[in-house]
């Protein structure tokens, strides 16, 4: 049985290699080109540093604004799609809608919004909001489903209204988790927003792509280094904040 499984697995793998045209020889032949590419990136062209920094700042702005708006929009959605809080006729449609939209990536939203509102950081912000809202709502709802029901019982027993029970029995239990998820999303959105520039939605990615198209590899390497630094700084700040929440 295990042997048969292994055989089928290897068969599938072999077919995948063939169908994707994977070829070690081709890769080996490409190595000099990669090295040439890297050589041409050195030294970085620091004259484009101000432009790259401005682009990075724009990327951080896109991620920050998008994440912040999504963090709020996801709140009602999260509660409506939590099994232990929402009534069944609300819960099932809400959960279905969330799963439907969550399968669409930020980049796809960006393509749609660039077409709808034009180039620049604004469609980027919209794309980040669209994806992050549904993904946070899902995380929120799972946090709500994992709460200790004891305090909810206790608050209900005082004669509190439904909203008061949510505010005093549920919210204090999930708020630190929510904040932690928002920060985690901010980290991934920084990366996502970098790529957004490639489709015209503003930020550092736009510069990176422009330099690559102009075959200005030394400028591109500056943009790349700035991207790496930006991601590291945001990650460090965010994970430090998250550690303090738990």
């Amino acid at each position: 049985m295990r042997r048969a499984g292994l055989f089928v697995g290897l068969l599938v793998l072999a077919w995948l290699l063939w169908d994707t045209g994977a070829d070690p020889v081709r890769l080996a032949r490409g190595v000099p080109w990669i090295l040439d590419f890297l050589r041409r990136m050195i030294p970085p062209d620091l004259t484009v540093l101000p432009a790259a920094l401005a682009g990075a700042l724009k990327t951080v702005e896109i991620a920050l604004l998008g994440t912040a708006v999504a963090a709020v929009l996801a709140l009602p959605l999260g509660f409506l799609s939590a099994r232990n809080v929402a009534p069944a006729p609300v819960f099932y449609p809400a959960r279905t809608v969330l799963n439907l939209f969550r399968s669409i990536d930020t980049l796809v939203y960006a393509l749609v919004f660039v077409a709808a509102v034009g180039l620049g950081p604004f469609p980027g912000v919209l794309a980040v909001i669209a994806y992050t809202t549904t993904s946070l709502a899902k995380l929120y709802s799972e946090a709500i489903e994992g709460i200790d029901p004891g305090p909810v019982d206790a608050i209900t027993a005082t004669g509190a209204t439904r909203l008061q029970v949510l505010r005093y029995g549920v919210l204090p239990q999930v708020l630190p988790l929510f904040l932690s998820y928002v920060l985690y999303r901010l980290e991934t959105n920084i990366r996502a927003a970098t790529v957004l520039g490639f489709v015209g939605a503003g930020g550092i990615g736009f510069y990176l792509q422009t330099y690559l198209r102009m075959i200005d590899y030394r400028a591109a390497s500056t943009a790349l280094l700035v991207t790496i630094a930006m991601v590291m700084v945001v990650d460090a700040a965010s994970s430090r904040l998250r550690a303090r929440l738990i």
């Binding site: 004891g150 019982d153 206790a154 027993a157 004669g159 509190a160 204090p172 239990q173």
Partner: protein, 246 residues
């Protein structure tokens, strides 16, 4: 004070938890509910404020119908029924005073309460209740930094803050060090004698039950198997509640 007639509760999975309970509890009584685990003690207490929905029967508390009450009437009824739980059920991350203030949720204006604002009068009352259980000095501490015994006293203060007519306590000492049992039961007894509140407390320790109760009600297999003063609890009665000794 509490009138229960024909109470039947069938839990999910077709488990008959209560099978026709009739009980009238007079004002100022200290009733201890005895019985083996699974006899229906918890279900009985949680039915009184409809944390569990009765399948059949009627319940009135302090003259108000609990069964059949619409949501607003149910909240008004719950307001006058304080409840103390085996696991304390405090909001662990919230300060002690906030936990006690939760007992006021049925009285204060809803909108300000959702923003975390309580009238000064209610804050003073919450502090008084905290003083009554001897923990006024811990008002600002986070609930989860307190010992188990202290947490249960906070939970009692929360019930007191409801200015209730009745306090229900579901195995209030079962999660505590046996040495703390007398302290908690003593506080409940003091509430009973000094404030004239009606208490219904479930207990699995026979000696504790006999020491504090003015009336013992024994449950067995979802029915009342004994009802009388502690002095009438003979070995025969204990057998009737807990099953014949082998």
């Amino acid at each position: 004070m509490i009138e229960v007639a024909g109470l039947r509760v069938i839990l999910p999975g077709a488990v008959i938890a209560l099978d026709g309970v009739d009980l009238a509890i007079r004002p100022g009584e200290f009733v201890v509910i005895l019985g083996p685990s699974g006899a229906g003690k918890t279900t009985f207490l949680r039915s009184i404020n409809r944390l569990i929905e009765p399948t059949a029967g009627t319940i009135r508390v302090a003259g108000r119908p609990v069964t059949g009450a619409d949501p607003a009437a149910l909240r008004a009824a719950r307001r006058q029924i304080g409840m103390v739980f085996q696991q304390f059920n405090l909001v662990r991350r919230a300060p002690v005073l906030d936990n006690v203030l939760a007992g006021r949720l049925g009285y204060v204006p809803v909108l300000p309460s959702l923003l975390g604002r309580f009238p000064t009068r209610d804050r003073d009352l919450a502090l008084d209740c905290l003083a009554q259980v001897g923990l006024a000095h811990l008002a600002g501490r986070r609930a989860d930094t307190l010992s188990g015994g202290e947490q249960q006293r906070v939970a009692i203060a929360r019930a007191l803050a409801q200015a209730p007519a009745v306090i229900l306590a579901d195995e209030p000492t079962a999660s505590l060090d046996p040495a703390l049992t007398a302290g908690i039961m003593g506080i409940l007894k003091a509430i009973n004698t000094e404030r004239g509140l009606t208490l219904v407390v479930s207990q699995h320790q026979l000696q504790t039950a006999l020491a504090y109760a003015s009336r013992i009600v024994g449950f067995r297999a979802g029915r009342v198997a004994f009802d009388g003063p502690p002095a009438a609890v003979t070995p025969t009665v204990v057998d009737a509640i807990y099953g014949a000794t082998r």
